[in-house]
Symmetry: D2
Subunit: 311 residues, 4 copies
């Protein structure tokens, strides 16, 4: 399904070259003054990356003008669903005509074809990275709630490897057994297009430590953020936050569209060499941090609300 | 919460030294002859590992006699909830008396204390690995359904690293965007006690390949299991199975109870050195494969049922 | 939350005088040619009622032009979320200026004020009957799926009492215990604005029959639709359809806006007599049938998909 | 499925003459001293009714000894799942031998047969009223939470018609659109075996009032429980509580087993007259109040927790 979250829930819609991309946020509290400029800033980070240069990021000019359809009145949230969309304007479906009945290697064309038998071949349709626009909008709104509670989410990406750190989260958030914070984070991260790997811990190799080295030692009379001397467990024990920073890593595979063309498969299993006309990322690393932060924020708000329910 | 799955759903209960451990399986089809001896065999694998020796696995003698409470009549399932339990018999709560108000390093004692303020200190309570008994029982029943459809799940573990492979899964299973098969598998794997890392792909490093190497090339007129020359993506594209084997890896941190004793924290933040009396794994690797297989089977059956809904 | 359904799920958004009303349908199968004119016909029924005259129905001119945002490509569904909206055009917020801080009797103004502390006073905001536009759109699409399976849903309304009948539904649909078809129908019906009463049975008084009269007698070698001589149970036994027509009744309270004005309450508890300027139904009976049919169709498709999952 | 509730969730299991009946309560807060004697008192009310006499209630001697399997330590809840069961002891399956392949009129035998093809014919199996034991246990625990917040739930039954009233509930509980309090209550009530009708309002006919009479007039400077002069809406507006008592009515069909025997249907559609040997209620009215109260309490706690999430 196209929803994430139990009581703070994002539902998204939209194909890459369909009329619009957008979503509904259900469970957002009432009376919050939404910082629209912040949403735009986050979308800008998604478009161009964080660095000085946007080298490698697709040339598609996405204005990403967000239209707010509901849930906001006189600048403040109503507690009702916040619906938003951005119309897809800079579409060139003719770029994809040659791909109509072909499945590109490394893409989701074949699996969508097998699953649905009817598929939108333009720019990957629903499986396009463009769907993450809705995640980034919802993430910006979720971050605003987290920051009001003193919680920050920061990610950075090198070589398709993101280091994400959550600071200020109190101890006790996360549920035991199946709704563990680490399980929910892994779920959210692996739902990002091209994510392949998720690891908890201060470094990606902390879990390889020996049984003598792994357990984080207590600090005498330690408090939050200074509870233990090390943070090998990444701030989560038994699925529940311990008050230390929550730290995890996500690995992404490279963009899979080759500028020189691709060997594509038709429905009969024949292979065709097709030139690449659509616009695609050469390197999507610059985009990834803001998406990882968004999915982290969406996940944490949901768990925080579950935790608050009987306090 | 303590449930996993949308339409094939397992809910578990039980503390390590409480009266019983068990669960309810909701959504199991009717008319299936349950292979009870298979359940016992899987529980035996969980108890002793797969190898010739059970070196390192806790000495606790768990008879794990499963009592079936509902959902089965004259040996066949009714389609109604299958409830089961195993009473905790070999408990020695006195082993944990010294730990009553202490939090061990590397365990979930502190986070449960912070979350619930009232905690069962005996053997980790709800956070104990003993809870996985319920997962293994449900997994054995789920595997039986998978195998009837020609799908096998096999995991093996070396140095706390499990390679899990699913063979025979048709193309088209898994949902787009948030309910991707890889996201659901990551969620299920990270819900296993001591799991720290999840990676899709034939090897744990496939995602690091360059954009020239990563995309799996089509085989001319290929069919399932021979669709592509390589399987770098691990059998899942856009969150949906492509008919190739589904392959992923899970990394686990070491057992965190040290036989020589531990520096434990009391509620005032003082540190005490406590001798270890409870029985614990020295190496839990032998147990992990059957648990990974169980969680994989539970996840796949749910996704297969979602996929079948409108066929 | 603003979603209904487990695997066929409608999520709606929109305030009466906000920018737009709409929704997302998740779980709609792929490859279906959507009959757009049918959607418009149903919306027309919602606007004007079924009869020759629309006496009593609000004068607000709602063009209800539906914009399809996703999930449809070349006229056929993709299996991805179908998002749609209709912009609110004929808004006259100035009609509601006098009500800004006042709560009307019989409306949800007070409860929204107490719940959210920030409220859109224009035309009832989220609690307006206008929200049912999204239900009728989704209902039209659900009905199309039902009819392809030979299932029809027909409702008619007299004196704010609707008789709804479902024909062609096979035996075995509906789940035991909590997800009973009758419970799910009651839930869906009571979610309609101004619904107050739900009753299963061929007549609203069938359940009052004596224990000698109530049980429906079998017809010798009867088949579907002729299984029993009577249909006192309304086609559902133990929460599961028996193949007879499913019949139930829904009672609605009258429209609560009085044309002569209303005694309204401000936040301090003072009472003010306010003239009525907004446009409102005098009698909403003509609108109710199509909404009841829509909610019935949405509920049944979800239960049918759950039932099909392991066939 | 066999679960009810979003964040306070009851999952039940058990067939009437299977090994046991029970359930799991997930989401119960930690640190609560459970009043076991209260649970027993409620079960006693279920067994015998509230009155001096238990005339008409089945003679089956159900000891209903509840075994607590998890979630409680040293008398107080742990915040982890509370599992409980009662073994079925006084079973006489031989009473049902003649019914093995027959479907009784007015029962769920036929629909279970059609749905599952494999069915437990003893005492109605899963569809038996005996399943309500689990509801009453969970309801007793939920009521304890409500009462700690000053909220009481009281039902009484005359002629298979129950009047249920909730007092002390604050304004603002319940969600808009689909998760309305009245919709959730209707769902919970219609999930009770033999429930046929649900009506909000001080009397079952309040919704039939004219548009002049229906809207409840405000009391000047009124507070909770004295907000309006009348309570025609039954304390819920727009799906949200307004602080007045919540009042609704539930109608039940009569017990359907006739002591003189029944015309039963076999799988070929032939009709057989079968004598009645099992023990059954002649009049189940005495049992109904406690079950209605239980389902009301379970529903309200879930909605109260949802409402509290961002306060």
């Amino acid at each position: 399904m196209n929803s994430i979250g139990d009581i703070f829930r994002l539902t998204t819609f939209g194909e890459s070259h369909g009329p619009a991309i957008g979503g509904i946020i259900d469970g957002y509290p009432a009376g919050i003054e939404i910082d629209i400029s912040r949403v735009e800033r986050e979308l800008q980070r998604r478009r161009c990356g964080d660095g000085n240069s946007s080298d490698g990021v697709t040339e598609r000019r996405e204005p990403d003008h967000v239209e707010w359809l509901s849930g906001i009145y006189e600048g403040k949230t109503l507690g009702t669903p916040i619906a938003f969309l951005t119309y897809n304007k800079d579409c060139r479906p003719e770029d994809y005509e040659a791909l109509r009945d072909k499945c590109r290697p490394g893409h989701a064309d074949y699996t969508y074809q097998e699953k649905y038998r009817h598929r939108d071949p333009r720019g990957g349709g629903r499986s396009s990275g463009r769907e993450t626009v809705a995640r980034v909008v919802a993430g910006a709104l979720a971050k605003q709630l987290l920051e009001a509670q003193g919680i920050t989410v920061t990610a950075s990406t090198h070589n398709r490897y993101t280091r994400c750190i959550v600071e200020g989260l109190p101890a006790g958030v996360g549920e035991p057994v199946f709704n563990r914070m680490n399980a929910r984070l892994a779920y959210a991260m692996l739902s990002i297009p091209s994510a392949m790997s998720f690891t908890m811990g201060e470094t990606p190799d902390d879990w390889r430590l020996s049984r003598e080295e792994f357990p984080d030692e207590w600090v005498l009379h330690g408090e939050k953020n200074h509870l233990t001397k090390t943070n090998h467990c990444g701030g989560v024990q038994g699925g529940i936050s311990n008050g230390m920073p929550v730290v995890f890593h996500v690995g992404f595979h490279p963009p899979v569209t080759h500028p020189d063309g691709m060997c594509c498969r038709d429905n009969e299993g024949n292979i065709h060499n097709i030139a690449t006309n659509g616009r695609h990322d050469i390197d999507h690393s610059p985009r990834l941090s803001v998406i990882v932060e968004a999915m982290t924020a969406i996940t944490l708000i949901d768990l925080i609300y579950l935790w608050k329910k009987n306090r």
